[in-house]
Every structure is written in structure tokens, then in C-alpha cells.
Symmetry: C2
């Protein structure tokens, strides 16, 4: 028997994406976004309201990085989601986060977030508020790499639970993609 929950944007998992930009004075800002996904082999799609400081920064010429929030940074990731960069100029400082300018795009990388996508805006649709970015590069700190690949157990990224408003970490592997399905062929 199924129970109805109405028209809600519920999905499991949802990511906790930290979008970082520079304002026109070079001050870094960050926000938390759950409504994002890959959009193509080298593109990312994120729904970002036009009122966000992040979107103003991007429309004023900043590129952006998209980092994965981690279990170790969950409270700070939540903070950048609940406090607006329009009101608080030093959100990143409040998080005790440190920034290093990306070598490939005009946007800050947050030192405390070990995996990030370095992106440039392709388009922004003011009606749907869909930001499309070109993924110029994916970078990850050596501390989260095993045998040359990003290791989710070391990265320890978090997911947003939109029903219960929790952040959950990833758990163990249950199957091989592109492999375990072959047993049914």
C-alpha cells in the first residue's frame, strides 16, 4: 500500500554542492545547492535563484567551482546554505575555510573541500533559473585518492535528505555498475 506525499521535490540521494565564486572585489563567497546534476559529458546543471549572491557574482563575470560537501564539513556546508552572501560578506571566513584561486578558471577552490569541479557559465535562464556550466576540470586532493582514482570512502561526501532535513554520508558498495546487471541478460 502506497502513501501519497503530494507534489514535493523529494529524491534520494540529493547532492550537497558547494558553489564558490568571487565578487567584483575578489571576495570569495559560497552557497549550498541540492538541485544539481551532470548535464552532459562536460557540463553541469544547477538550479540557482537569481537573488543569490553566487548568481550575481557569476553574471558579473566570475567563474565557479562546485565542491562536494563532506562529513567533516557538514556544519559549515549547512551554514553557507542558511546564511545569505547578500547579508554576510565573510561567509567563508565564518566557516574557517580557506581559498586558493583555481589555475584554470576565475573562481576560488576551498582548501577544506577536497574534490571540486572547475566550471565556466555556458548559460543562465532567468525563467527556470537553470545555470549550465562547462566542466573545465575535476580536481581532487591527494588525500582522497586511492590508486589514481577518487575514493569516495576517503572523500566521505554527504547527501541531503530532503524529507527529514538531514545530511547523510555514503555507505558501502552494494553492486558493480555495468557489471551486475549482466547477470540478468
Amino acid at each position: 500500500m502506497r502513501k501519497s506525499f503530494g507534489a514535493k521535490p523529494f529524491m534520494y540521494p540529493m547532492p550537497v554542492l558547494i558553489i564558490a565564486t568571487y565578487d567584483e572585489n575578489g571576495v570569495p563567497n559560497a552557497m549550498n545547492a541540492a538541485w544539481g546534476s551532470a548535464a552532459d559529458i562536460n557540463r553541469i546543471a544547477i538550479y540557482v535563484s537569481a537573488g543569490h549572491k553566487t548568481m550575481k557574482n557569476i553574471l558579473a563575470g566570475s567563474d565557479f567551482t562546485v565542491s562536494m560537501a563532506t562529513a567533516a564539513t557538514a556544519a559549515a556546508a549547512d551554514y553557507v546554505g542558511i546564511v545569505s552572501g547578500n547579508k554576510v560578506e565573510n561567509k567563508i571566513e565564518k566557516c574557517a575555510w580557506h581559498c586558493t584561486k583555481s589555475e584554470k578558471v576565475n573562481a576560488p577552490l576551498i582548501d577544506e573541500l577536497p574534490m571540486a569541479l572547475e566550471c565556466r557559465m555556458v548559460s543562465y535562464d532567468t525563467e527556470s533559473e537553470l545555470l549550465i556550466g562547462e566542466i573545465v576540470d575535476v580536481v581532487a586532493d591527494e588525500s582522497v585518492i586511492t590508486d589514481g582514482s577518487i575514493d569516495p570512502r576517503k572523500l566521505d561526501p554527504i547527501c541531503y535528505d530532503p524529507v527529514n532535513h538531514d545530511y547523510l554520508r555514503l555507505g558501502e558498495k552494494v553492486a558493480n555498475a555495468f557489471e551486475d546487471g549482466k547477470k540478468l541478460i
Copy 2:
């Protein structure tokens, strides 16, 4: 020290969305999609190639449901991702999945997948291959509900690891969204 991985559609977590539709003869089909997110309070965005049987069914008039793949259904979820509905007509049967027609939209609910979004196409852009759906309802089986809410520990949804091609389950809670960030204010 950060290592570069190039322009890749890497994100943690990525969902494992099972999109189910009817063809023009009422035969149910399902596919696996990782490139999707919420797009608004009552909208979902999924990038679906036009060549997929799923997209042909939707463009021919089917609505669609979007279910969360679970640890118990990981192999079948992988199977519907690697085998095309253009070639195999009875993919759902091969999964030993059973369908019940949604009461609200013209699309199948898969009995073995306890949480689903019931959706109607709003738009499909043939260039970007972005499918936008209106979320008409979210439904979940009583077996995954605790105190009236969907319980991710009971649902046991899986995530796609795009780097290592694994399916991972969700783990424990690490923080409260909209709460733990307040400690930094």
C-alpha cells in the same frame, strides 16, 4: 596538492533514477538515469537521450514515474541501464519486476521500488536532451515509512559512483540540515 582528472561529469552523490513509461501498446519499460535533480518545488529535470525507448514513449504520450533504485534492486537497476528497450521489449519482466498503473498519471509504478515520483512531461529540449517533468505526486510504500515520513534507512536507496562505477548505499546521519549551520552564526 590537487590532482587533475580532466573534464568529467563526476559528482558525489549521483542518484540512480529508474524512469518507467508505457509504450503505445501499454507495455511498460524502464531505464536507469544518473543525470537528474529537482528543478523546482514541483519539477524534476533529467537528461535523457532522444534515442532511448523511454524518451520515445514519453514523446508518444506516456507520462513517467521516477523511482529510487535500492540496495535490494541494484542488479536489476543496473540491468535496465545496460540493456536497451529498443532491443529488449520485456526488460521489466527480465528484472522480475511487477507494475501497477499509477492512479494519477499514465505510467507504471514498479512494485519492487518502494518510492516514486509520478510525473508528467512539461518540456523536452532536443538539443540539450533535458526532460522537465511536473511532479504530480510522491508515493512511498508503507514498508519504508516511519512516523509518517519516508525513512531512508528503510528505503535503502543507492547512489551511483561515476568514478569507480559502483553502486553505494547511503550511510548514517552526520548533521541536521538548517540546524547545525546555525552554530557558526
